[in-house]
């Protein structure tokens, strides 16, 4: 049977505010357990939440970036359930009146660009963390994460394959990071994803029974988890078995999904408006203010790179995947004025070195200025492209300027025609056998002579001049012989 896959994703993103959503505790990750936990975090009797306005502003940025309509009045609600990492016995979230609704983002698929709907974006507080003692029957609660602001981005079931799901996530992730509202760190849990997945015979309108997947902490695992789950559901249907609506956990080590214990998901959250908070009123002036402060988003940047710099869409995609990388690239272009050459160097050598060292562009020892200077030196013929490879490796390793390296290593290109002509003549003289073969028709040996000249000049000879001189002198030889 031919099946269609239907996927909807729920993404939780931690916002990068300095303080928590309902108190003034720090949101810093990695502090000693419970060192960022005040009476509000602990859910002590009588204490009250006060909303951090920054959280609303950050969430509004995401809402605008994903073309959502912002609700002029949105309301915090309590999601009630018992768990030791949830101090109040309820999570303050939004339910009936979320911050924003009805948005979308565009993703690239094999068949072109596609719109994926965003149902809603709402604000909520994160829960704490349980630490289980491996040696004793005890668990400990760390409430540092309690009250760290989150936005939940609920997507429409518009995704049709695990690859599309991963692509959608990458795009969302990219936008969040571009907006400077989330660090996007999946391992530390700043960007988390749950997936709803079902299958249906192609052409059928109704959705099949869905399962919810949790515990996938990388783009790759989201794709793997979904691929597994789709296969599992197909197997069930093809064998006449029923798909059970349930929550399943992705087991990375085994590469399978397993059902959560049903008791853990048997929740009736009893949502109701939180009487301790007043509705968040968002007027048009506030929205306009946030809109005015929005940075350029990845999609727009890609289009601008293609149009303004005349670089291929592929290059624009690679360069804009990371906001800092795009900024670096633009700095180089501004300084050297050679967009395509700059993109080759950034995407080639610079990214190769960074990837080898698992470093980000922020940690790159080669400044945009140095790279631009190096490109300038190639352009004006001071060094050859080949020498530049050596120079940039040195720049990366030592952080020195290209001028410094070229001066110290004596790498300035030989462009003195008289000197080069002597070398070329000497090489021809020194290799009579190759010369004879060349003249006998083995034209490939031209490369041999170029190589010998470059070797003799330690690569410093201007390649174009070597080519020209060789051609000229070999032709001259031929002419002389013909005369003889």
């Amino acid at each position: 049977m031919d099946f269609e896959t239907v996927i909807g994703l729920e993404v939780h993103a931690q916002l990068l505010t300095d303080t928590k959503i309902f108190c003034s505790c720090s949101t810093q990750f990695g502090a000693a357990p419970n060192s960022h936990a005040c009476p509000v975090c602990l859910g002590m009797p009588g204490v009250l939440p006060v909303l951090n306005k920054k959280v609303v502003e950050y969430a509004m940025r995401m809402a605008l970036a994903t073309h959502c309509a912002i609700n002029p009045q949105n309301v915090f609600a309590r999601k009630n359930y018992f768990y030791p990492d949830l101090p109040k016995g309820y999570q303050i979230s939004q339910y009936a009146y979320p911050l924003a609704e009805h948005g979308y983002i565009m993703i690239d698929t094999g068949e072109g660009s596609r719109k994926i709907g965003i149902t809603r974006i709402h604000m909520e507080e994160d829960a704490g963390k349980l630490i289980h003692d491996d040696h004793n029957p005890a668990s400990y609660v760390d409430l540092n994460r309690t009250g760290v602001p989150l936005i939940e981005i609920v997507g429409e079931p518009d995704i049709r394959s695990p690859e599309e799901a991963a692509e959608y996530l990458r795009r969302l992730h990219e936008i969040l990071v571009y907006l400077d509202i989330c660090d996007g760190n999946m391992e530390e849990g700043s960007f988390r994803c749950d997936a709803n997945v079902s299958i249906r015979p192609r052409g059928q309108k109704e959705f099949g029974t869905r399962t919810e997947l949790k515990n996938m902490n990388s783009f790759r695992n989201v794709q793997r988890g979904l691929e597994y789950e789709v296969r599992r559901q197909q197997y069930l249907v093809e064998n006449g078995e029923k798909i059970v609506q349930e929550t399943r956990l992705w087991d990375d080590a085994q590469g399978v999904t397993n059902p959560m214990r049903s008791k853990e998901e048997a929740h009736d959250y009893r949502y109701f408006p939180d009487p301790d908070l007043v509705p968040v009123v968002v007027d048009e002036a506030w929205v306009a203010d946030i809109r005015a402060g929005m940075p350029e988003l990845p999609q727009a940047k890609r289009e601008r790179f293609v149009n303004d710099y005349q670089i291929p869409a592929y290059d624009a995609g690679v360069l804009t995947a990371d906001k800092a990388l795009a900024g670096y690239y633009e700095d180089v272009v501004k300084l050297c004025g050679k967009p395509k050459i700059a993109s080759n160097w950034v995407m080639g050598d610079v990214m190769k070195f960074l990837n080898e060292d698992k470093k980000s562009i922020r940690e790159c020892p080669v400044s945009a200025k140095s790279l631009a200077d190096m490109i300038g030196l190639i352009e004006e013929g001071t060094i050859s492209g080949k020498i530049a490879k050596e120079v940039i490796a040195d720049m990366y390793a030592t952080g020195r300027t290209p001028q410094e390296i070229i001066r110290e290593k004596g790498l300035v290109q030989i462009t003195d025609e008289g000197a080069l002509a002597k070398t070329v003549a000497a090489i021809i003289e020194a290799n009579p056998g190759q010369l004879a073969d060349y003249r006998g028709g083995k034209e490939k040996l031209f490369g041999f002579f170029v190589g010998q000249v470059m070797k003799a000049t330690q690569g410093k000879a201007n390649p174009q001049m070597v080519n020209d001189l060789l051609k000229k002198m070999l032709a001259l030889r031929q002419a002389q012989d013909d005369i003889d």
């Binding site: 009476p39 602990l42 859910g43 002590m44 009797p45 009588g46 204490v47 009250l48 939440p49 006060v50 909303l51 309590r78 009630n80 018992f82 030791p84 101090p87 109040k88 016995g89 309820y90 668990s139 609660v141 009736d268 009893r270 949502y271 109701f272 009487p275 301790d276 908070l277 007043v278």
Partner: protein, 485 residues
């Protein structure tokens, strides 16, 4: 007259004149407590040591001319307001050893105004009750008849004032918990407008209804307390940034030409005839003060109790979820796993009435029932509020009985929650509408039990309440009696 029998304003004058010291007042109050507390049980905890130290400090200030609005005045705090370093139990086993690391804003304000804290007053567990019988620490008795309840949930706050075990107190009012015990104990009690007094540090029962307010010996003292308590608090999101007038200016003004609204829905069958008679007399007195009487209608009154007993338990079921034995408070011993720890802790830590309300509230919010219960109740609540908006377009204040009967016997209604709930029938509407209300004494039953009358006004019109109550208090021929203890 002994010092503990005086009002705030009388004592203030004596302090200013140098007639008495804060220590003398505190000593007088604690000697009174020694004499009567064993019979009444107003307090869960006395703070004598701290109080004496505060009084000594107050006297040093007085010597230097530093006299604040409550300097040297012994005040009782309902044990629902958090006091830093002092156990705050909420009348529950769940919190019987809980020591907050912070003060309620109201406590901070009282302390800054020079108040001397006498102790933490007894109350119904988590403020759920109308008789102070559900306290984990045992019931409080009405000073006018020790066989009877003092009302609740702020029973201890009311009896401490009535029996002169303090000069004034604060309570909290979610459905009448200040006004009802004030009426049954013959003192003045005010529930301010929702948002007027900070709820920060007030242990939540029903967050959209809870409000802290004073219980005092007369209306002027109520105004003095409100001057200290009222005001915006950045620590509370529902706190309102409305200007706070000097409430004392309303005391002693007349009410000539005022329109007093009498809602026909509040004068129903089943009201004790002596209460009816006392209120009728009050209406006559108010008329003689130069006010005119207008009959008004609050058509949704009959739904108040039903709406209240959905909204309050619903919020409570969520507010009380934090008492799970994980971080603070009571934790049951011998639990084998997490779920058992939750169950045993909450089974042993909460009393029957609290559990009943958690069950009702959980049910009302459950999937499939929300719309029919909580959703519908919220809609009717909006109608109740509109009733009052319309009423206050026609009158300055509304006058009603505070309670349908005088104080009932201890144990009389403990087995009949519905009867118990009906004792708040006249006070609940103010909480649902968010408006202020005050109860002032308006007479005694033939058996010598106090009766109260309630005035209600529009949002942030506490001044009007004080003016009406003070005008009435001045001209009423209410006999000044003291409980015979």
């Amino acid at each position: 007259m002994e010092l503990h029998q005086f009002t705030i304003h009388a004592l203030q004058e004596k302090i200013r004149n140098g007639e008495v010291s804060a220590l003398q007042i505190a000593e007088s109050v604690f000697s009174r407590i020694d004499a009567v507390e064993g019979r009444i049980h107003s307090y869960i905890r006395l703070m004598k040591e701290e109080a004496m130290a505060s009084a000594a400090r107050a006297d040093e200030g007085i010597q230097k001319g530093d006299i604040q609005p409550l300097t040297g005045i012994p005040i009782a705090l309902k044990d629902i307001v958090c006091t830093r370093g002092i156990p705050t139990t909420c009348g529950s086993r769940m919190l019987h050893q809980f020591v907050p690391p912070y003060n309620a804003t109201a406590v901070e304000k009282l302390a800054a105004a020079g108040a001397i804290f006498v102790g933490k007053a007894n109350m119904d567990e988590f403020a759920m009750g109308s008789s102070t019988e559900t306290s984990y620490f045992g019931p409080t008795r009405n000073p006018w008849d020790l066989e009877r309840i003092p009302g609740g949930s702020s029973g201890g706050s009311a009896t401490a004032v009535a029996a002169d075990e303090c000069i004034a107190s604060i309570g909290s009012d979610t459905g009448g918990s200040i006004r009802q015990p004030a009426a049954l104990c013959g003192v003045v009690g005010m529930k301010p407008t929702y948002g007027r007094v900070s709820r920060f540090g007030l242990i939540a029962f029903a967050s959209s209804l809870d409000q802290i307010g004073p219980l005092t010996k007369d209306v002027e003292d109520c105004a003095i307390m409100m001057n200290v308590l009222a005001g915006y608090d950045p620590k509370e999101s529902t706190s309102v940034k409305a200007e706070v007038p000097d409430y004392r200016q309303f005391v002693g003004r007349d009410i000539k030409g005022w329109k007093i609204g009498i809602p026909k829905e509040y004068f129903i069958d089943g009201i004790d005839p002596e209460v009816s008679a006392a209120v009728a007399k009050t209406i006559e007195t108010v008329r003689q003060c130069g006010a005119s009487i207008v009959e008004i209608s609050l058509p949704h009154t009959k739904y108040c109790v039903a709406v209240y007993y959905i909204i309050a338990p619903a919020e409570a079921s969520s507010n009380l979820a934090r008492y799970d034995g994980v971080r603070y408070g009571f934790r049951a011993a011998d639990a084998r796993d997490l779920s058992e720890m939750y169950q045993k802790t909450r089974r042993q830590g909460f009393g029957a009435e609290v559990k009943r309300r958690i069950m009702i509230g959980t049910y009302a919010l459950s999937a499939g029932y929300y719309d029919a219960y909580y959703g519908k109740a919220s809609q009717v609540r909006a109608l109740i509020r509109r009733d009052f908006d319309e009423a206050f377009a026609r009158c300055d204040v509304v006058l009603t009985p505070t309670t349908p009967t005088p104080a009932f016997k201890i144990g009389e209604k403990t087995d009949d929650p519905l009867q118990m709930y009906l004792s708040d029938i006249f006070t609940i509407s103010a909480n649902l509408a968010g408006i202020p209300g005050i109860s002032v004494p308006c007479g005694f039953s033939t058996s010598g039990l106090p009766i109260g009358v309630q005035f209600l006004a529009g949002h942030f019109e506490e001044g009007k309440l004080l003016q009406a109550a003070s005008a009435y208090e001045k001209s009423a021929a209410v006999e000044k009696r003291r409980p015979a203890l």
